[in-house]
Symmetry: C2
Subunit: 331 residues, 2 copies
């Protein structure tokens, strides 16, 4: 297989050209929301923000809004809230996994410890609630409240299911839907809701977001096994190290002739580099990567299908281009 190197960040910027002015305003609003009179609070809460990030969820909400009667001021609080929710989950993930770097810089946990990061995660999330509470449209807080509960369920399932080699493809889909797809679905849908879209439009966008989110996470899970460390910004095989069983692994545990050896490798708590490489080789040789790429492609096809009945406009074209981009990215 040939893993093409594409700079994700650059390609995304290209796709987001159409909304780059609005994205700059989202960025300024994010900064402004986290300015407080307490210098320590401002420093800790903007730490992750300053490290950058793709701002995928705000972008999806803007594009969702652009499939309806777009007014920036209607989507802006939502766009900022979505990124705050996402950042809150990242900060709490860092508490949990004892991660020491994220987006190339030391994590809040690494710099200030678990106590501060727990509360900064809570703080970022709480700030999002103020923005969400500014909407009169009840669907926005309701969808986000449900999404938040399900995201936590996904995190807990990921922990209780770690190192569990009996889990099924169904368990995996349940988990990545909660971990990734639901918030992206909500971003696409609620951007449109904020701009007064009728049901048939915001439901279609939700379906698009769900399928894109699923494809996105499957792709990420594949890259964790086959990308270059430099490209990934973290060591290859970090899911295997943490006992997180992803789609290629589940496939290999069912289909590889060396599945017993793979199980042993996965269950070993202290894997060395060589064991990680051996596990990856087993997964690749039995077609676990190829199978997962096919599943991701199916989700991308469904995502594009969800847009079918939407009026043709620049935002729709970008959403389609994002789908195409995810399908080719890095392999």
């Amino acid at each position: 297989m040939n893993y093409r190197q594409v700079s994700f960040q650059e390609k995304m910027l290209e796709l987001f050209e159409e909304i780059k002015d609005e994205m700059a305003i989202v960025e300024r609003e994010l900064q402004a929301t986290l300015q407080t009179p307490d210098p320590f609070l401002t420093e800790t809460s903007t730490h992750l923000l300053k490290a950058g990030g793709k701002r995928l969820r705000p972008a999806f909400s803007l594009l969702g809004g652009k499939c309806a009667n777009f007014h920036l001021e209607r989507v802006l609080p939502l766009a900022v809230a979505l990124e705050l929710i996402h950042m809150a989950t990242l900060v709490h993930d860092d508490v949990v996994d004892a991660a020491m770097t994220r987006r190339g810089v030391p994590t809040i946990k690494a710099r200030w410890g678990n106590r501060i990061s727990t509360h900064i995660g809570d703080y970022l999330f709480a700030q999002s609630l103020i923005l969400i509470a500014s909407y009169d449209e009840p669907l926005i807080p309701r969808v986000l409240a449900n999404t938040s509960v399900k995201m936590c369920e996904g995190e807990i399932q990921q922990i209780s299911g770690s190192f569990d080699t009996e889990q099924t493809v169904k368990d995996y889909f349940y988990r990545i839907n909660r971990k990734t797809a639901l918030l992206i679905a909500a971003s696409c849908q609620l951007g449109a809701v904020a701009c007064g879209a009728p049901k048939e439009i915001h439901f279609a966008l939700r379906r698009y977001g769900h399928n894109i989110g699923m494809a996105f996470q499957i792709t990420d899970d594949i890259l964790d096994l086959v990308a270059e460390q430099r490209q990934l910004g973290k060591p290859v095989g970090s899911d295997l190290r943490q006992g997180i069983i992803t789609l290629p692994v589940i496939y290999a545990l069912e289909h590889s002739p060396r599945r017993e050896r793979l199980r042993t490798l996965i269950l070993s708590r202290d894997k060395n580099e060589e064991q990680i490489q051996e596990a990856i080789t087993i997964i690749q040789h039995c077609g676990g990567i190829k199978y997962s790429i096919e599943i991701a492609e199916k989700y991308i096809w469904k995502a594009k299908g969800a847009l079918r009945n939407l009026t043709s406009r620049p935002a729709k074209k970008i959403l389609e281009a994002i789908a195409d981009f995810i399908s080719i990215r890095k392999f």
Copy 2:
């Protein structure tokens, strides 16, 4: 000084006699909200719930509602949400402080580790959002969003201000308002809001709740220094151990002739039992406890004053009785 032993739990039950049927329904609803098809999630998320607790915030919301046009079904989601928010903060506090028991049983952190408790705290909080999002009255989500942000600010200030012997009474009031008073104020106010109370009633209840909350926290901070371990359910002087500087300590650091010795004792990171006792003696001898009791009494007086213009009814009498009870409890 004579520290009378009163069973807090029993006295509270007596005060809550008027609302005991409603409180039983709140309890059932709390249980029902946390039932899920995932046995591990249900077990971890109901762990703290099962350990009991006074359910003060639900009780305040019911009493607030009873100062207006009370209908249980209008207050119930709020009452449950308030306890979930409170429990979420307790679970996250346990991550932070590495506490091993709470309410006499092992904490979630002690039983399942930091990873699970971080996500269970998030989960409990997210569940509260579903309940809050069911209200059409926008004041309810707005007040609770603002309260949540400020509660986090208080937690962060408590951490960044720990072992800081320069902090002032003003810093202390800022912190305990955020840590305790705001959520109690919101409980009293929003119970009334949920039952359609006009501004003058729910604002008065908010003022009552604020002042009761302040008195409550000051009393707790006094008890941490002077109660019996058995009565407290945790070792005496635990705030001193963690470097949390409370009102009696701030007073002593300003007024005690032995303030330099006290400062040294506070700044020592590994205090033994003897040093804790020596610090407490210094605080008591210079009148730090007496001063703090007087401040708590002032808040109680203000709390009762806030109720002055409310129509006389059983709920008002109970709120007054709670104020009186806090003022005498345990000293």
